[in-house]
């Protein structure tokens, strides 16, 4: 999984390092990724912000319990693992000075792959225009800081609701940790749902859960299965019968089961639900990852090509969900995670059908998240939108285009399939009960569609 591109390897050694620095070339570093047992942050985390920092106050105990060392001052002689800046008390744009005052000195003391997490409140909930402007300003600041940071560091924004700050603990820990290696410049919106108090084993947050992953035979899907399995889930690996050989290998590797089903089949959802029910006693997590591309300029796209992409990437999800979201399908408190794409946000030349399907997936998230019945059952629906990920698919892109795709982001490198999988595992955990209807890009803060 620890694939590194040749350029990144080159600029992280002797001559290459000097050359890149002298010429001002992109200087990607190997990203810090999660290793079981490691504390979330790589070094002490500075906390500060505006006023009495209510979010930090609410999260302090949880962060400490998660193994994060908190500090109120920039320590001498050691690098910071990250900064959590709490602007939830900001009432006007003038209060943003508190953010500058906390963050500016800290940025010079950040360690490799450090994290900046800004915590604010939802602009839509503001009680005055000035407050709304201040809240909205946090997004601009965070995205700019993300672009300013070097050496694999990231900056993200978490929006919390007053009185429900603790619901954001999972998001803040995720963003401090190596699990969010390629998540940069994103906004995490956290609602008010009750988060189960039960502190499960942090290394196995999905223990006891049954998760279905479609398209699990290879690429990102295989790493989703591996990551959910690592986090304790029993994984049902689904792919088309023709991919059965690699599907079996993945299923056996994660100790799950292989189910050879074409997601476009009329009974695919029922078969998956039945398999999860009879074999594993229920279904807690569904990851709709199966997808295809049939790239061509729209001017040259015929009806069959168009239909096949929409069928696999979008319509099949709607059809399967009729069975998977039925009362005897996904359990209460269940999780649905969809896979969108940066192409669905930014669009991409020659990918009209793919972009249609992946933008449509965002529509699914919006629609399902607004479904009161699902909300009453405690079911959350979220999506990841991968940017440039190093897969067999992107390895086939011509070299020049591939290099551009790789470098046009704040981390100056492509992400790995596991980076997408980590964010999916984040959504899948019980701790994210208050996170629904969100789309998180796993793109290293790509310039595309930003």
């Amino acid at each position: 999984m620890a694939r590194s591109d040749a350029y990144t390897a080159f600029v992280n050694r002797g001559l290459g390092q000097k050359l890149a620095a002298t010429l001002g070339l992109p200087q990607p570093v190997p990203l810090r990724r999660h290793t079981p047992g490691a504390p979330p942050a790589d070094g002490p985390v500075l906390v500060g912000g505006h006023g009495d920092t209510p979010a930090v106050a609410a999260l302090r105990a949880g962060l400490t319990a998660a193994g994060v060392t908190l500090t109120e001052t920039v320590p001498e002689g050691t690098r910071l693992g990250g900064v959590v800046v709490d602007l939830t008390a900001a009432a006007t744009p003038a209060d943003l000075e508190s953010l500058r005052a906390t963050l500016a000195p800290a940025l010079k003391r950040l360690g490799r792959c450090a994290r900046v997490v800004v915590v604010g409140r939802h602009p839509a909930h503001a009680s005055s225009v000035a407050e709304r402007a201040a809240r909205r300003a946090l997004e601009g600041i965070t995205r700019s800081v993300g672009k300013e940071l070097r050496a694999g560091a990231t900056a993200n924004l978490v929006l919390v609701t007053e009185g429900a700050e603790t619901a954001a603990l999972g998001a803040v820990v995720f963003l401090l940790s190596g699990r969010s290696a390629y998540v940069d410049g994103q906004v995490f919106r956290v609602g008010t749902a009750d988060v189960p108090a039960d502190a499960s084993d942090p290394e196995r947050p999905l223990a006891g859960k049954v998760a279905v992953v479609t398209g699990a035979a290879r690429g990102i899907g295989a790493d989703i299965a591996r990551t959910l399995g690592r986090d304790g889930a029993t994984v049902v690996c689904v792919d088309v019968p023709a991919a059965g050989a690699s599907l079996a290998a993945v299923a056996n590797e994660v100790g799950g089961t292989a189910l050879q089903v074409d997601v476009t089949g009329h009974d695919a959802g029922a078969r998956i639900a039945e398999h999860a029910r009879t074999r594993h006693g229920g279904l807690h997590v569904v990851v709709h990852n199966a997808g295809i591309t049939r790239d061509k300029l729209l001017a040259n796209t015929d009806a069959d090509r168009w239909a096949s992409v929409l069928e696999v990437n979008l319509l099949s999800i709607l059809r399967m969900n009729e069975a998977l979201l039925a009362p005897d399908g996904l359990r209460d408190g269940g999780r649905v995670v969809l896979v969108s794409s940066i192409a669905g946000i930014a669009g991409n030349r020659g990918q009209s059908s793919y972009a249609a399907s992946k933008a449509g997936v965002i529509g699914l998230v919006d629609g399902y998240a607004a479904d009161e019945d699902l909300a009453a059952r405690g079911i959350t629906v979220n999506a990841v939108a991968p940017g440039f990920i190093e897969t067999e698919m992107t390895a086939r892109i011509p070299l020049a285009n591939r290099e551009i795709g790789r470098r046009l982001n704040s981390l100056a490198q492509g992400g790995l399939p596991v980076d997408v999988a980590e964010t999916i595992a984040f959504f899948a955990a019980d701790a994210q009960a208050a996170v629904s209807g969100t789309v998180v890009r796993v793109c290293g803060q790509s310039l595309l569609g930003a």
């Binding site: 050989a245 079996a248 290998a249 056996n252 799950g256 292989a258 009879t278 074999r279 594993h280």
Partner: protein
């Protein structure tokens, strides 16, 4: 152990069967058996599990593969403490393995087991002529330089050569097809009837693929997703145009089209007790009811080489108090189309049933619409030891689709004048 319990067929897996020297030309028996096991393990979530016993075998086997099945288990995702052993009963290997596993489960000696088989007609062992082999062994035994020199000099250029194994009966020197041609002529099996059966096999198997029947019975291997021998668009005209391959003159009715091709492939079947199935979230597809083996004296010409199943079925029916018509489905292995047709004719023949089977009345005709409804070896191919597993898994699923209580008969002929038969009943 005084009481017995029922053993269930819980599922199966095979790799698509390939023709000799096809996509599996360089795959060993161990590779293919491991692949079949891996697919079975993945489908049933058995990674890291200890299964009671894995029983499998191959007909054409390298001497290095003395522990073929155990080696395949060690190369699989099953727990390393899963025991295994090899068996070999020619083309009856897979079905015999199923009987053995089912019996241990029935006796309570095992809670679960996997029965399987594999064969490669491509990756065959090469054998040196017997005379050369003896001289080489003598050379190996030689102690002094003088002895070694003598032993080495004894090897003559004419000793050199290799023998490739063939489907030939050691005691008659006749190929299986030549044997079958004699039987086909004796029972007056026509070319047309054989071609019709072959055509039905291809059409039935193709239809089964079309409806996704094999989606949970097969795992692709080395790029092959369907049986390579399958010809969905075969026609009776095409089959009729083929030259005969066995027999002579008017008695020559057997062609490459109505005989099975040499094939490569592997299969595996998961069996278990009802309790074991329950704790693993698995639903029994079919119960294993009974099994029987028979052998005939083909050497004296008293009986055809591949006619033993006719006897085995008769004995098993008598034991079960059943008639030949008591089955919803029949799976008669299509070694040759004429094997199936000769067997059916024998069961309908009053003289044969009286004189050979000792019955007052013939076993009678079967409803041909219930025969090999998803095709059989003529279409799928026939990697010898893998055929039993293919049939058992296919029949168990078919019976399960028909509903509880549906019964199926399996009949497999084997080299050496043997036959292995069994009864399954839908769970």
């Amino acid at each position: 152990m005084t009481t017995t319990r029922r053993a269930a067929v819980l599922g199966g897996n095979r790799i698509p069967f390939a023709r000799q020297f096809g996509p599996y030309a360089e795959a060993s028996n161990q590779d293919m058996l491991t692949a079949a096991l891996e697919g079975l393990v993945a489908r049933h979530g058995l990674a890291g599990e200890r299964v009671g016993e894995v029983v499998a075998g191959a007909v054409i086997k390298h001497s290095r593969d003395f522990n073929l099945t155990r080696e395949a288990v060690l190369g699989s995702s099953l727990a390393a403490d899963t025991p295994a052993y090899d068996i070999q009963q020619a083309c009856g290997t897979g079905l015999e393995a199923t009987i053995l596993v089912a019996n241990k489960i029935a006796l309570g000696q095992a809670d679960s087991g996997i029965a399987g088989g594999v064969d490669s007609a491509s990756d065959a062992p090469i054998v040196v002529p017997e005379r050369l082999r003896r001289k080489l062994l003598r050379l190996n035994r030689a102690k002094s330089p003088a002895e070694r020199a003598r032993a080495a000099l004894a090897i003559r250029p004419t000793d050199l050569g290799i023998q490739v194994p063939a489907a030939t009966e050691p005691r008659t020197g006749m190929s299986m097809g030549e044997h079958m041609a004699v039987t086909a002529a004796r029972w007056g099996v026509t070319r047309e009837a054989q071609d019709e059966l072959a055509l039905a096999s291809h059409h039935h198997l193709a239809a089964a693929y079309e409806r996704g029947f094999f989606d949970d019975l097969m795992t692709p291997y080395l790029g092959l997703t369907r049986d390579q021998n399958l010809r969905p668009d075969s026609t009776i005209e095409k089959l009729a145009s083929l030259r005969t391959a066995f027999g002579t003159g008017l008695e020559a009715t057997m062609t490459a089209g109505n005989s099975t091709p040499l094939s490569d492939g592997a299969s595996a079947v998961l069996l278990g007790s009802a309790e074991w199935a329950e704790t693993h979230g698995l639903k029994p597809l079919a119960w294993f009811v009974d099994g029987e083996t028979a052998a005939v004296d083909y050497l004296s010409g008293d009986e055809g080489l591949l006619m033993a199943p006719a006897y085995a079925v008769s004995r098993m029916l008598a034991r079960q108090g059943m008639s030949l018509q008591d089955f919803d489905l029949y799976e008669i292995h299509e070694a040759f189309a004429s094997t199936v047709l000769s067997t059916l004719k024998a069961w309908e023949d009053p003289e044969f049933c009286r004189d050979r089977l000792g019955l007052d009345a013939p076993l009678g005709a079967i409803d041909r619409a219930r025969l090999n409804v998803n095709g059989s070896s003529l279409a799928a191919g026939h990697p010898f030891a893998a055929t039993g597993g293919r049939i058992v898994a296919t029949l168990a699923k078919l019976l399960h689709e028909k509903g509880s209580g549906a019964r199926g008969l399996v009949s497999v002929c084997a080299a050496g004048g043997q036959g292995v038969v069994a009864i399954l009943e839908a769970a």
